[in-house]
Symmetry: C2
Subunit: 391 residues, 2 copies
């Protein structure tokens, strides 16, 4: 089988002011911006692209209106600096002005959307937060979102045990739902007509939902309305930790997980979903950003695929990690508990139960991006308005 290498790994570094070096002459295409004693070499072309004026931008929305396309777009005829402000006149006659605050704001966005991830093994139960306090906003909501971002799992307690409540709660948190082919809010209880093992009383090994989409739902909330049955305890396990362990201890197996696409299928009598993707997905820096695992929904790969045996070794090692109780957090969801998980990271499951009493759960999906964006806005990392222009 032909194998070639793709892509570049880029080192993950926050944007840092470079060390000051007053003796270096500026390159022709660079403006040495000096501010507060720091010297930052700014590309002329960067300064043209980011021009904040309301000819280049739509004032109503701050979107870029200007489209580069002329040969002399980036030719400057004069550059002036004064007290951290920059003014450039371009060959076209256009004038670009930056205040120090506008330049600083451009740097801020470079450092946005950083996920401060804490990987975990088994042991402690997920952290619980009070539903009403989190919905009210303020520090409780920020703490809840920070935990969900960091560990990929958190529980709200005291969620009203009303069918449909999960949608009300999500609206209060400002998190839009993601629909799949099933109901918008999905009932999980014993259902002889159900299309998924969750609709039986059987135990569910750790899994992520809808790996049968190219991009499975990246967030999931499971709201337990009532849970009076014997058995049916919950578990979660950190898929990124599992993949990281494999990467460190058996990199040839990890390589199988990032390179061999596997089919997953979820279907009902009239609906269908199918995707073929590697189990682990990396970002261009090589960081783990995606994980899908469902022993129950996984489809066969080609029996003559020359990578099959190596891939299966990787799958078996991964399954061994994920199903080992020592690597899981085990707990019970009582009525009123709503379990939030990062759907591309944290797998969930349950033990078998005896359907001798009420057990009713409703779940739905959301986009984990919205958790990070909401958190950034609450923490003041995302400005609601552009920085005012220089006077």
């Amino acid at each position: 089988m032909e194998k070639r290498y793709i892509g570049l790994i880029r080192a993950k570094k926050p944007f840092m002011l470079p060390p000051m070096n007053n003796s270096a002459p500026p390159a022709a295409n660079v403006v040495d911006w000096t501010h507060n004693g720091d010297r930052v070499p700014l590309s002329l072309r960067w300064l043209r692209m980011e021009c904040p004026c309301f000819s280049c931008r739509v004032e109503q929305t701050s979107e870029r209106r200007w489209i580069p396309g002329r040969a002399d777009d980036f030719v400057a005829t004069s550059i002036d600096q004064s007290e951290g402000s920059i003014e450039i006149v371009w060959a076209s006659g256009h004038v670009t002005k930056y205040s120090p605050a506008q330049l600083q704001a451009s740097f801020e966005v470079v450092n946005r959307a950083k996920l401060d991830t804490h990987l975990w093994g088994g042991g402690d139960e997920p952290t619980r937060f009070d539903h009403d306090a989190v919905c009210a906003g303020g520090p409780d909501r920020m703490d809840f979102l920070a935990m969900l971002l960091s560990e990929g799992v958190a529980i709200l307690t005291g969620t009203p045990s009303i069918p449909g409540q999960v949608e009300v709660t999500m609206a209060a948190l400002g998190l839009p739902l993601r629909e799949t082919f099933s109901e918008r809010v999905h009932d999980v209880r014993v259902d002889p007509a159900g299309y998924n093992i969750a609709h039986t009383a059987e135990g569910l090994p750790p899994h992520s939902d809808y790996p049968s989409y190219t991009h499975p739902p990246s967030g999931q909330v499971l709201h337990m309305l009532e849970n009076d049955c014997e058995g049916g305890d919950s578990l979660v396990v950190d898929g990124w930790q599992a993949a990281s362990v494999l990467r460190e201890t058996a990199s040839h197996l990890f390589e199988m997980l990032i390179s061999v696409p596997v089919g997953f299928r979820q279907y009902s009598s009239d609906r269908e979903s199918f995707a073929r993707q590697p189990i682990v997905r990396l970002d261009p820096s090589g960081g783990i950003i995606g994980f899908r695992y469902s022993n129950q929904l996984m489809q066969p790969i080609a029996p003559t695929d020359p990578d099959f045996e190596d891939w299966l070794d990787a799958y078996l090692a991964l399954t061994d990690y994920l199903t080992n109780p020592a690597n899981q957090r085990r707990f019970r969801l009582d009525g009123g508990d709503a379990l939030f998980v990062h759907g591309h990271r944290v797998l969930h499951g349950r033990s078998q139960y005896i359907p001798n009493a009420a057990r009713h759960l409703q779940d739905c999906y959301f986009d984990f991006d919205d958790v990070l964006a909401t958190s950034d806005r609450l923490r003041g990392l995302a400005r609601a308005k552009p920085v005012a222009a220089a006077s």
Copy 2:
């Protein structure tokens, strides 16, 4: 900047029966399945993983219940073949039986979900289909879905010009909506309070919506309710074709597009979305599967990023291609036209218009996976029931 290579490119090949070779002795871990004169070497471990019996699978849903984990899971004590059927007794005592039809079904899934993509340049208008005929189902729907899958764009004509109709149409097609932070069905008309340039009468250069999500909506439908203004014609352009051209003519620039993450942001006074991703995304085979482009929503990358100048060269070349009318399909959306696009491939835009008459469009998003899955089901490529067990 540290650069390393990641990932393996796997050659894209359909699963094929290997050439018959009666003289080759089977490897110890392989069953040579002979059927209709073909000999297919089947891995013993593959046969155990895919065991179709209702102890290993949930009869109600055909999901895999069996979880591998014992040292002797894959040790066979006897293997028998007869007329294409296989029966294996394992060390655990478990018995696996395959009928020829069951084995054949396992091979079918290996070839599923193939996108038969036709890249295009400028010229012809997108193909139009009759709304009512497509909603009725049958060959018209299959033709419409096939066109949408192949070219990433298709138009329904005669869509009732009723606000909210787009949601009715999508339900008829069995395509669930994807919500974002804006309304579930989104009104596009001049709106002084709008958060996006689409809410003005300005021209819109080709763009994809919500690049500010890690996984932007992969499908979008734009339903024109009325369009009586002067100007405001529509255009689409094939982003995969643009990326392919760049890959062929300037691979060092293409490399920038797949490796350098760029921020995109869409926000309103109380909502926020932000993602940092490369413009082009590849699958593990090196095929182009994702494309995001929005000159208006793009955020600055670090001004001191050593890749900035090369990346900008790539961005300028790409912008030059995308904004060149010779590479675009230009057409007018009249009232009743619903434009469907593959959101990770086909960019859309419009010319400026004079807001001197009615112009009202409603759009919403969906998951392009559902188009392929629906098409596979209609074409008989996805069975609604597992193949019956051998008698």
